[in-house]
């Protein structure tokens, strides 16, 4: 049953298919914003299939880490997808501290990109790596502060299941002022975690080509692309289950998910790319301040 959960239903296969379709929604909405038609719905599946059939070129430097890194990221994302999927099906199936496990696992994709890109030995990739590290340092602080606000709101629980059931009983965290502020902070951090514009400095296509992914080709690139689109499925779902889970039947989940997805895609299409120092100032300055205000409001019971 565990293997079925991990490999098929809430885990790998399901989240891969949903993620690839979410990636298509991203491309389609982007195209419509730019007054284009955009690709057909199966485009990302075709891209994935094509990359599997291409030659995989390995660099001279550190082959083991280079091959290993994409799988580390992918497996972490699958684990988060499995945990969240099981949880949303049955909130009682939860263990103490699974929120913290999920938080750690959600950092792993960034770390896998950092590892793989450093192993490639490409100078442009190393530029991308340094930017990615700075970005991780920048967005993790407000992200965790926002989640602390949620923990306080739901009565000092670090069990995701209890956070969910607290929301089902007392209404969504989003409904309170502190929850709303923390939600806005978390959306901005999610934008950076997903590596979307305005926070895509690490793979800025125009200045450092593909940045961190520059040396990846074929099968390994396909794994990285799959990891990115699965993160596009997992991250909004995680935010929904933390902030907006008063009602977790399947239709409201899909509606909320698509709404969040379209919001981040619209932000992506209307904002210019910021430099990495601007991103750090942004996250450590006003955004962390907002998250702190949310914690203070939550502590005072609002």
């Amino acid at each position: 049953m565990i293997f079925f959960n991990f490999l098929v239903f809430p885990g790998f296969l399901f989240s891969a298919v949903v993620g690839l379709i979410a990636g298509w929604i991203d491309r389609k909405v982007t195209a419509r914003v730019q007054w284009r038609v955009g690709p057909p719905w199966y485009q990302n599946f075709v891209d994935f299939m094509k990359l599997l059939g291409k030659e995989t070129i390995l660099p001279q430097s550190n082959k083991t880490t280079f091959i290993f890194a994409p799988f580390v990221g992918l497996i972490s994302v699958i684990l988060v997808a499995t945990l969240l999927g099981k949880l949303l099906m049955d909130p009682t199936q939860s263990f103490l501290g699974d929120l913290i496990v999920v938080l750690y696992l959600l950092v792993m994709p960034a770390i896998s990109i950092i590892l793989g890109a450093s192993a490639s030995g490409n100078p442009l990739a190393s530029t991308g790596v340094s930017r990615e590290i700075k970005l991780v340092l920048a967005y993790e602080l407000p992200f965790i502060l926002a989640i602390v606000a949620v923990i306080i709101k739901s009565g000092a629980n670090i069990k995701l299941g209890q956070i969910l059931s607290a929301q089902i009983n007392n209404g969504a965290v989003l409904g309170s002022p502190s929850g709303l502020i923390a939600f806005i902070v978390a959306i901005l951090c999610m934008q950076a975690k997903l590596g979307l514009v305005p926070f895509d400095v690490s793979e800025a296509e125009q200045e450092i080509m593909a940045g961190v992914l520059i040396e990846y080709s074929g099968f390994l690139l396909a794994i990285f692309k799959l990891m990115k689109v699965m993160l596009l499925y997992v991250m909004p779902l995680f935010l929904i289950s933390l902030f907006w889970a008063a009602n977790i039947n399947i239709y409201s989940l899909i509606g909320k998910y698509v709404l969040l997805l379209v919001i981040i895609i619209l932000v992506k299409n209307t904002a210019p790319r910021v430099r990495v120092d601007q991103a750090m100032k942004f996250f450590w300055g006003p955004i962390s301040l907002l998250a702190t205000i949310a914690i203070i409001l939550a502590l005072s019971g609002r």
Binding site: R36, G38, Q43, K54, E55, E205, Q206, A210, L213
Partner: protein
């Protein structure tokens, strides 16, 4: 299985654009026309990518210069196979107005193997789309 891979390849061509030295840059501007709302080749899965490692198509414009020639060869070798090379515009096809230049070596196809030629100075976007159609037919083996 091989057929599936080929079909997938022709439905998602990722293009790496390379300008090999001497040119007036008009071809490079014309390529961007294909991505605008009027032509929108992303409908067919065609994207510009930043790294040659991700590319299926090496799109070469401009007349080959002495400085750029070894780099063009290197990029051709770095492209993961299966991949195709497209020579684009009069300059890369036959050196164009740079025929008598001291800096111009030879046309692109004398230096690296070229699968598709798109003539014009610059080629119209319609001509480019026709070229892509011919390329896809060639890759799939349709006469």
């Amino acid at each position: 299985m091989k057929n599936l891979k080929l079909n997938a390849l022709t439905k998602s061509l990722w293009v790496f654009h390379l300008n090999v030295g001497a040119s007036c840059n008009n071809c490079d501007i014309e390529i961007l026309d294909l991505l605008t709302p009027r032509y929108d080749v992303e409908r067919f899965g065609i994207m510009l990518v930043g790294s040659i490692r991700h590319a299926d198509v090496l799109l070469i414009s401009g007349a080959l210069s002495r400085k750029a020639a070894p780099r063009a060869k290197k990029l051709y070798e770095q492209m993961p196979k299966p991949g195709v090379v497209v020579a684009f515009g009069s300059c890369s096809l036959g050196r164009g107005i740079f025929k008598d230049s001291y800096n111009s070596l030879c046309s692109v196809d004398e230096f690296i193997p070229v699968d598709l030629y798109i003539p014009g100075c610059p080629p119209k976007p319609e001509a480019m789309i026709l070229g892509i159609v011919k390329l896809i037919k060639k890759v799939r083996g349709i006469k």
